[in-house]
Amino acid sequence: MSSTHLNHPGSLRSLVTLLAVVSALVSTHATAADQPDNQPDKKTAVGKLVILPGEFTLQGSESFQRLLPGLVRNGRFTGTPTGKLEWSSSNPRVVTISDQTARPAGNGQATITVRHKTLSATAQVTVSHFAKQVAWDFRIHVQSVLTKSGCNGGACHGALAGKNGFKLSLRGYDPIADVRTITRQNRGRRVIPNDPGRSLLLTKPTGAVPHKGGVRFEEGSREYRVVSEWIAAGHPAPSDDGPRISRLEILPHDAILQPGSSQQLVVRAHFSDGHSEDVTRWAKFTSNNTTVADVDDTGATLPDGQAGQIGRVSVTGHGETAIVAWYLSRNVVASLSVPYANTLTGDTFDKAPRSNFIDDLVLDKLKGLSLPPSPQTGDAEFLRRATLDSLGVLPTPEEARAFLDDTATDRRARLIERLLARPEYVDYWTHKWSDLLLVSSSTLKPPSMKSYSKWIRDHVSDNTPWNEFARDLVTARGTTHTNGAANFFVLHRDPADMAETVSMAFLGMSIQCAKCHDHPLEKWTNDEFYGMANLFSRVRFKTAPEGGDGNQSIFTTTSGELIQPRTGKPQLPKPLDGQTIPFEALGDRRNHLANWLVSPQNPYFTRAIVNRVWANYLGTGIVEKVDDLRLTNPPSNELLLSRLSGFLVKNRYDLKSLIRLIMNSQTYQRTSRITPGNEEDRRFYARYYPRRLKAEVLLDAISAATGQPTAFKGYPAGTRSLQLPDSNIASRFLSTFGRPERVITCECERSDEPSMVQVLHIVNGNTLNDKLQSKTNRIGRWLASGMPDYRIVESIYLASLSRYPTNREMSETLKIFAGTPPEQKRELVEDVLWSVISTREFLFNH
């Protein structure tokens, strides 16, 4: 039961309506069962009272608007006031209020007022076209009913093959075809204008005749009326100049709610003819994280007997979630925050150290959620973390000693500068982008694979701005042996595949759904997909005239279109939401795509790369997952993502400047240790999140710690796995630890999760054991040099963990040394090194 919903709809409603007419005053009880309404609000907690929406129009006698009273504190909606609410209309001949819903009574303007204790709020309403005959529009009203009732869902008549001979477009993306299906097929039995009640379109969903899909709505419901009156009006098809949806609005769009509370949401649709409607009842609601809040999408009675209410949110936990409302192929998102149950003082945040705007924005978020930040990490841990995240290698024992001896206050900032200038930085980021761009000899001939890899490496080495990198790639031409970027097109020959790949790699989002139908979770339509894909329809391939193994030449022609299967015609070339170009336009269409792609006005491009770089350093994307940027999957900190994007644009897409900013922030330099109260944080950066080293980095780390490199067939001795250009190199270690095959353009192809199989390989497998036993490793050198035992232990810790052993670690280990005969010392040192390498501290970046 919503705390503000009238709970006796029968007799009380008629009384209430009467009162509204007579005295223009309605009073309803807020029935928050668990919060007695005589509990006085604390003075500090009282905010401003508002009504949402604060201003609206009601057009025609059938219109209505659900009203949401709410308290606003510090500019944010904080829930519905508990206790008695008094509603009134300044002119009941214009608008009346019942069930917290405004309904028109005649044309004109009026003010709606709600009073709660000492507070009051108003909303302005304009009523027009009151006397006009109601005409239900198929595109807007009938389609809403069919969609919300599930008729055109993927499991029902929206399936590709329809159901029982009746096929509708999935979620109503093709209203013209749907009207034709409904009115022309099945010998007209679906609609009978002179007796609508006998139409199959009504007898089926009400269960009057057997219906496999069950009862979808009741006779006499608003759904029933909309469909029957549309049929009675001669089931008109939507006209070309009829109203279209232009904007969807959700109220409140941002709220702070308390655990255990509930909150009604309202969705308003704005149409191209200027009118708007309360469409809450026909919107489809989903929660991105049901462990924070759930939302009622069906209005069905709850298991405990409470009445359901479409669009009502129930808070189930702490943190943040987005509630997504879908209506007529549009999505709108409400962000909900539920603060953690920590009692913190302002000092917790005000006195927290800050280096740059990242810290300001992260601390603001933490403050809003009552999550205490963990303190700064120690130097040893920072050295290891920064080196692993930027270079993918462990600091050497010498580097560790030097850094730990450094007492200058700017030692961390100087370390960051040194790291960004190191050659291993190029290896690391080349490898990262090679994953994304699928460099592999399983799909490319070795010379092409090498030239592709070299192209990436050269750009990383030059620190090419990311926008230029992207432009060079998507407009690549020439032979695959000389211009490595051209291989991007060899891997994705099909224009549709290329459209998907470009979107995934550079916009961080999948548009694959739109290949067959309008994207159900995003705004992308089937038309837009084919407009995008058609930008690649003139790319051609031929064997390169100069020859060479698999050498191909990539060029473009001036003719050729991609046919959209649904229409049988090509779409005008158009980058997703960019401008169209005429079919006959001369020049390489890909330049048009590139201009749109890297334009600072394209929000997705910058956000996608910022998010990828951020996730590399912080372990969790601001949008998570990094390949799932979409309106309906909002960032955990919108302001942070947009400020970082602005920073990158201002710095001309210089990724090193972004990395420098991130690494110098206190947010990046926090310890991974828990501070009481932030245990549950996984998204807001209250601490650094430990994660297992990725396969290649881990293998290289084991090689470095043992001093025994891994041999890769066909590559010079000492080549690190992160330096391999190719993923198609057999390695049991790398595949066990989740190396991607480079088949799918998605960072999700890689797995960093530990498993028992991995542990078995560490314990019994030949990778680590062979390195420990090798006669040429560090251990042999240590023993040969006659190093004292404590020094050996110290070296093991520095080489593996970049820190000195603790006193306890040292003394307990030396005890075992003391009890070991000299001829078994080598084995003991191997075992000590094994024991350090097999710990979480080694296997994880933390």
């Binding site: 993927g154 499991a155 590709l160 159901k163 496999k212 989903t286 991105n288 994280n289 049901t290 462990t291 924070v292 298991p303 189930t316 936990g317 702490h318 943190g319 310890t671 991974s672 240790r673 828990i674 245990e679 549950e680 999140y689 430990p690 994660r691 049991r732 066990t736 088949v743 799918i744 998605c746 999700c748 999760e753 530990p754 498993s755 028992m756 199989v757 542990v759 078995l760 390989h761 314990v763 019994n764 497998g765 030949n766 054991n769 036993q773 306890r808 670690e809 307990e812 280990t813 075992i816 003991l828 075992d831 094994w834 024991s835 350090v836 097999s838 710990t839 979480r840 501290e841 994880f844």
Partner: protein, 458 residues
């Protein structure tokens, strides 16, 4: 297996006393904590009375056609009934397609459900999720595989893991969605052990199950003690799921390494050649044989994936076009291999008296289109298909539910994925209202409220 009395020896379920490496690791200087005690309990330290049930879940990835397997429609037009004929099964309970003669001989042992359906998108991945977990994954709630639920609720019954997946997890089937083959919200500590090898290969051995010869028992023990010294220094990983998982993986790995019985269960060379041949020297055949050995050795749930992907492999996914499979490919390659192994498994379990307590359920993600497509194949069809069950309390020779005359929709007793998974839980003796800790501790019943097992099977 955790010996909390600290006597220095421990007893395995078969009563053999041996050095228990785990115990050394857990009873370190720190002593035993409450959570370790709870863990010992959760890990099934003792074997309660009546804890005898196991499950072998054979997952027919790719999705067999109901028409060419368990729901032939000889009366329907040619474009629906397809090219094959029905044959009656032993006991005369029903008829199945002629391409499964081995099944027909055991028709008195298994029962068919012909009215299975789901309502999610017709991509393989969603069906995998629902049929193995009982729910579609939405709102960040990934329901665990039934075998992982068993692992969570009852813990290990021997030194072997509770849930083993053979031969490998499901790979790509086009949707890029999770397949529901792990412990989901229960946490990775309850994930299955995955074999990652083909037991029909000549030199088959479980990867890394044994330490190298140069590392004897004493050194292995010393390594674990040393590791404890370092790992106890850093206790700040508690909030990382992956770090916790690594810890539990170490415990589980040492347990399996040090158990003779556990190692033997994976050793197919201990089987007579005749038995191995009876199952068929195919990957699937030898996985079925290993499933029997594992169940015998105390594993609660063995999931056998008949195939690993639908691309460029001859599977049940008979679209009729490349890179998928043709109806002939199914007849000539898939069905014989499958038929031989399944009939061998039923025979073997029966002869050893294991069938009574072992539920063998053969599931798939959806059915195929009633109409044969222009390529001579059949496409995805989640609206109606057949699954079947044997043993574990299920009576043989029955048909539950009915499809309509063209096999397009359930005509009687529609059965959803939740009902199928509830049936597994019923066989294992679990109350369906049992709650699992979902994300952020939110409780989830084993199956959605009101979902019942398929009682007609029992």
């Amino acid at each position: 297996m955790l010996n909390i009395t600290g006597q220095g020896t421990a007893h395995t379920c078969d009563g053999v006393s041996r050095r228990d490496f785990l115990q050394v690791g857990t009873l370190g200087a720190a002593g035993i904590t409450l959570s370790e005690l709870e863990q010992a309990r959760a890990e099934g330290k003792t074997r309660p009375e009546g804890d005898r049930r196991s499950v072998i879940m054979i997952f027919n990835l790719g999705a067999p056609s109901q028409f060419e397997t368990f729901d032939p429609k000889p009366e329907s037009p040619a474009e629906i009934r397809g090219p094959f004929k029905p044959i009656p099964v032993a006991g005369g309970g029903f008829s199945i397609c002629e391409i499964l003669p081995g099944h027909a001989k055991h028709g008195d042992k298994f029962s068919i459900v012909r009215s299975c359906y789901h309502t999610a998108a017709a991509v393989h991945d969603t069906g995998h999720q629902m049929m193995q977990t009982g729910r579609l994954f939405t709102g960040g709630v990934n329901t665990p595989h039934a075998g992982c639920v068993a692992a969570y609720l009852q813990g290990r019954r021997s030194d072997l893991p509770s849930h083993v997946v053979l031969p490998e997890p499901m790979g790509s089937t086009g949707g890029n969605l999770p397949h529901g083959q792990d412990a989901g919200f229960l946490g990775k500590a309850h994930d299955p052990f995955v074999l990652m090898a083909d037991p029909s290969k000549k030199n088959f051995r479980v990867p890394d199950l044994l330490p190298p010869k140069s590392i004897g028992e004493a050194r292995l023990d010393r390594r674990r003690k040393l590791r404890q010294i370092v790992d106890s220094t850093v206790k700040d990983f508690e909030a990382s799921e992956n770090a916790k998982l690594l810890d539990s993986s170490f415990k589980a790995a040492f347990r399996i390494i040090t158990s003779e019985k556990a190692r033997a269960a994976f050793d197919l060379s201990k089987e007579p050649k005749k038995v191995r041949d009876r199952y068929g020297m195919t990957r699937f055949g030898q996985c079925c044989l290993m499933a029997r050995r594992l169940v015998e050795a105390g594993v609660r749930c063995v999931t056998v994936n008949t195939f690993l992907t639908v691309f460029n492999e001859i599977t049940w996914d008979i679209h009729g076009t490349k890179p998928f499979t043709s109806i002939e490919g199914m007849r000539d390659i898939v069905a014989p291999m499958y038929d031989q192994a399944y009939s061998a498994l039923l025979e073997d379990l029966t002869q050893r008296g294991l069938l009574e307590d072992t539920l063998v359920c053969n599931l798939s993600e959806f059915g195929r289109t009633p109409r044969v497509n222009p390529a001579g194949g059949r496409d995805h069809w989640p609206q109606c298909w057949s699954v079947y069950f044997a043993g574990g309390g299920v009576q043989g020779g029955r048909v539950v539910g009915k499809s309509d005359p063209i096999g397009a929709y359930p005509a009687e007793n529609p059965v959803g994925p939740g009902n199928v998974v509830a049936t597994i839980y019923k066989s294992l003796g679990y109350e369906l209202e049992t709650e699992l800790p979902g994300p952020s501790g939110r409780p989830f019943p084993l199956v959605d409220q009101g979902t019942e097992a398929i009682h007609e099977l029992f």
